[in-house]
């Protein structure tokens, strides 16, 4: 059987691939920021004095971590309209990704908070700083420094997982690949190229985060 690989379509498809990749990058940037912020609140809630809050956050984390992202996405996109919450695909994707990311990083951020020595808080208290300032200026930066590698991995995993949101017609990289292969009938070549784009994105994202992390978070503290 003679099948010759054909990449002749690639020139015309570069625009679609680029716009898909831009959407994927947009999704992951929004999700990383929102997810990390949310997970800081999650980690605080997990360590709260109120048992109800602790249990609620724990329940949320376990629920997300023990169900597939695809099902969470379908539940939010198809299921929530039943409750009158109707979201367009991009909003649903961002919501699902953020909720997913937040559950995983709640555990990560929590581990970071626990790793900061108690003496740091006590010393800050002795200096007369308010609890909120102590958390934002003293505890959180040190925690973030410890967990930065784990958080980076989680962001890369989330980026790879985002391929799934093509299933609710968000026009990201995988969605564009689906469209392309339907038009060119070159499914293998299309997915091959797009897989390489994902590989490049994940390597670039990892490098970028490490470089940024070394400069801003670890800078002057290590």
């Amino acid at each position: 059987m003679g099948y010759a690989l054909d990449f002749g379509w690639l020139n015309d498809a570069l625009g679609m691939i680029a716009s898909g990749a831009a959407m994927t990058v947009f999704l992951i940037v929004v999700t990383s920021v929102a997810g990390t912020l949310l997970s800081i609140f999650g980690a605080i809630g997990r360590r709260s004095r109120h048992a109800i809050l602790r249990k609620l956050v724990a329940g949320y984390v376990e629920l997300i971590r023990n169900t597939p992202f695809l099902v969470q996405l379908f539940f939010i996109f198809f299921g929530l309209p039943r409750l009158g919450i109707r979201l367009d695909p991009v909003a649903a994707a961002i919501l699902a990704m953020t909720l997913n990311m937040a559950a995983y990083s709640t555990e990560i951020v929590g581990a970071g908070l626990d790793a900061v020595h108690k003496g740091q808080t006590e010393a800050a208290k002795a200096l007369g700083l308010r609890p909120r300032i102590i958390f934002i200026k003293i505890v959180l930066p040190q925690a973030l420094k410890v967990i930065f590698p784990a958080l980076t991995s989680q962001i890369v995993i989330m980026m790879l997982e985002s391929a799934v949101v093509s299933q609710i017609a968000v026009r990201e990289l995988t969605y564009e690949a689906d469209m392309l292969q339907a038009r060119t009938f070159r499914a293998f070549e299309t997915y091959f190229i797009v897989t390489l784009v994902y590989l490049g994105l994940s390597i670039a994202l990892r490098r970028l985060l490490y470089a940024a992390g070394r400069r801003s978070i670890a800078g002057g503290m290590a």
């Binding site: 059987m1 023990n66 897989t195 994902y198």
Partner: protein, 215 residues
Amino acid sequence: MIEFTFWDIARNLLLAARWTVLLSIVAFAGGAIVGVAILLARISKRSWLRRSAQYYIGLFQGTPLLMQLFLLFFGLPLLGFRIEAWTAAVLGLTLCASAFLAEIWRGGVQSLPNGQWDAGSSLGLHYIAQLRLIILPQAFAITRAPTVGFLVQLIKSTALTSIIGFEELVRTSNAINNATFEPFTVYGLVALIYFVLCYPLTRYTKKLELRTAQR
């Protein structure tokens, strides 16, 4: 239109969940076997083998599983293999699992002190026997928690095989949803079934982690 009661929906979903469970078991077993081979290459004394294994692991950990499934599903027929969704699903998940398991176990092997290898060779054991009798059993024991943790991840990953057309839990739920227009109930139940499958394993992982931490 056929009327679906709640019980009909639940029963059909539970029947479909059997395929999710079967696929998870087959892929985990296959992944473990291939994973040991990758592990051996990853810790080999030959640098080209080590490097190849490293690239293999990096490739599977650096690309979406969905793309891996698509490439197998559309790529293997080009090589002249007749392939069905089930074959592509098993193969894709097996290869992906092998990369992750090899990386987990490598951590276990490298955490063992070199004295374990030395003691093995001083007993006159050759390389394979050292691995089989001394190194691997300890490495597996140390990494039991992350290995079970990965099984949870694998069970959740089987959901993606619905996209290439394998009739497991999610694909069945899509069909039921199209017939009943009860997305809230259907996907809620699906989430519940996955939760029931995964949560005990997650609890077990936590217990194992605590036990290692106490040591």
